[in-house]
């Protein structure tokens, strides 16, 4: 009872001061789309520290990383959320692919094993999300089944979605192709690495997380 009263008071004051309660904002997408780079950009901008390691080798993130109480601001508005960086979702994992990056067989097999667990964990966390940013590599074909599957599951759960078409600093980037593949969603071109369009990205988060 006391807990409920506390929550009601907290919610009342949060509304007065135009802040939202902590929501869980997940970064989802296929491997190497730039989820961890975006997570680092967000936490670096608003907390002054990075939260995930990044690598050109796929499946660098093999477990859920969570940063609590990230508060972003736009004008007089504030939005506080727990940021969740998830492992890339894939339908196949071949340890030999990691060996192409000069990784030895033992490490490659271990990475593959951890990566399979990471994919399962990412899928299971879908139910815990209040809003999701799908991070796609805008230089790649967006019509992959993984993208369609993630979006289909979020739609079935009524979870709001923003698509970040990442890597717009690269020559092959094609944001329009992503927008035409998913016309029912807001698609925003960004470069998480260089920070291009990141202010618009932050503003868009306020619209997605209503």
């Amino acid at each position: 009872m006391i807990k409920r009263i506390k929550e009601a008071i907290s919610s009342f004051f949060a509304n007065i001061f135009n802040t939202k309660k902590h929501i869980r904002l997940g970064l989802y997408g296929p491997p190497n789309g730039g989820k961890s780079t975006l997570a680092n950009k967000i936490t670096k901008d608003w907390l002054g520290e990075e939260m995930s390691s990044v690598s050109r080798i796929p499946h660098e993130t093999r477990e859920i990383h969570q940063k609590e109480k990230v508060t972003i601001k736009a004008g007089s508005k504030k939005l506080t959320f727990n940021l969740i960086d998830t492992p890339g979702i894939a339908t196949k994992i071949d340890y030999e692919d990691f060996m192409k990056f000069k990784m030895n067989a033992k490490d490659a097999k271990e990475r593959a094993k951890e990566a399979t667990k990471g994919v399962i964990e990412a899928i299971r966390w879908l139910d815990n999300m209040d809003a999701v940013v799908i991070v796609l590599d805008s230089t790649k074909n967006p019509y992959s089944q993984v993208n369609i599957t993630i979006l289909g599951n979020l739609a079935a759960r009524n979870i709001p979605v923003l698509i970040a078409a990442n890597k717009i600093d690269l020559r092959k980037s094609d944001v329009n192709k992503i927008q035409s593949a998913f016309p029912q969603y807001k698609v925003l071109g960004i470069s998480a690495e260089r920070g291009d369009n990141i202010e618009d990205f932050y503003k868009s988060l306020f619209k997605v997380v209503k």
Partner: protein, 126 residues
Amino acid sequence: MLTLQYIPHTELQNMESEDKIRKLLNLVKSDRILLVEGRLKPSEETALIERTMEMIDKKFKGIEIGTIYAEKKNIQPYELLKKQFLQFLGYREGITIIGPASIVKEIKRDPNKIELLTRDSKRRKK
């Protein structure tokens, strides 16, 4: 030689999701490329990925999957009702291709055609 197996909707429609996924994965693990009439539900697609991840080992590297179906933009209300009713009965529209990643290198959809790229047989024998 590649083996393509057609799975009509009637073969899966009365099965529980878990049984459906087990059947599909067992066929894929026996090196068949499946042409499944219709689509899986979103929850079945994620369950298929989860089960696939659990099965990955030295021999089985996972799956490639792709679906293609006609997406009408400006759907009339009666068409939407019809579509929702049919979805209630099962996602019969379109076709789903599922193959073992050791044979199917990539399934490309772009957006009204689907291309299936296979690995060369030398690599498959590894």
